[in-house]
Symmetry: C2
Amino acid sequence: MSSISSTANFFDRPETKLLVPPLNFAMVTSGIYRSGHPLPINFPFLEKLKLKTIIYLGEHDLRSVNVEWASRNGIKIFHFRMENCKLPFVENDPEAIAAALQVVVDSRNFPVLMHSNKGKHRVGVLVGAMRKLLQKWSFASIFDEYGQFAAGKEDSDIEFIEIFNSDLQYDPKYAPPWLR
Amino acid sequence: MSSISSTANFFDRPETKLLVPPLNFAMVTSGIYRSGHPLPINFPFLEKLKLKTIIYLGEHDLRSVNVEWASRNGIKIFHFRMENCKLPFVENDPEAIAAALQVVVDSRNFPVLMHSNKGKHRVGVLVGAMRKLLQKWSFASIFDEYGQFAAGKEDSDIEFIEIFNSDLQYDPKYAPPWLR
């Protein structure tokens, strides 16, 4: 910093328009972001992330405006059907979670945005499973993070994260750095 | 994923010990993490991040165990004195925030961990100032993020973020990708 030869001021930057991240947007780890369902107002923000992949955990088809935007930007979409967890009738689907994790252990898919509708419960379960299985976080830290996004903890989700397991395999050649 | 030649199972990995991130740990953006004050129990987790720099916003000296750990791991510490914001007597210090931002616009310092004691208010103000000035986030998104970490919003902090400005300069050669 002491050797700044040519400097630039922030206000010189061509783009001064405000950027609007999607609801509950956050960076999960290198190469991975999480959020709620993106709306067109969020597209300029998301384009700056240069996404390669979107993982959508949702009951219904993704909106066509999102599908078209992803296609225009060369973004591959993985849609894993997962219903909103409504106890005692609907439970989180371990196969959908395992399939989504299979996408994130391959860094050729990075950067990835994983989203559900609100970015709270379903994405919270996916991030929790990832913290536990791939990143070996302690449960206390996993539940804290889950609770930061989910307003009011959903006990069934937390139970799911705790018992979730999978014999997922990965190719070390394409493993993300946080898995090595 | 269809072409996995040699696979590895997660459970084969040598390290199976649980990792404990510091209080309120999160990734802010590429190259930057935030948290509360790290304790020795968090050191194995932090060592995986290969940190180059720590920014500490705090009133008192950093604990010697942290200073020694940072030194052993070749981590440079920037300590910007900032008191806990206690209205109406103590206000956030715009000079400390500007000095901290000056560290994060130089990617040679990456990866950076920015921490205060609880990782809520002071670090929340720094992240908010960064979102506003460097990343052009909308206020609604900035305040949402601030509120996720700070239990109960601190109006004075939010006011500070809104009015904060700085004629910070940066060297484009070392600017992080999210600033370009």
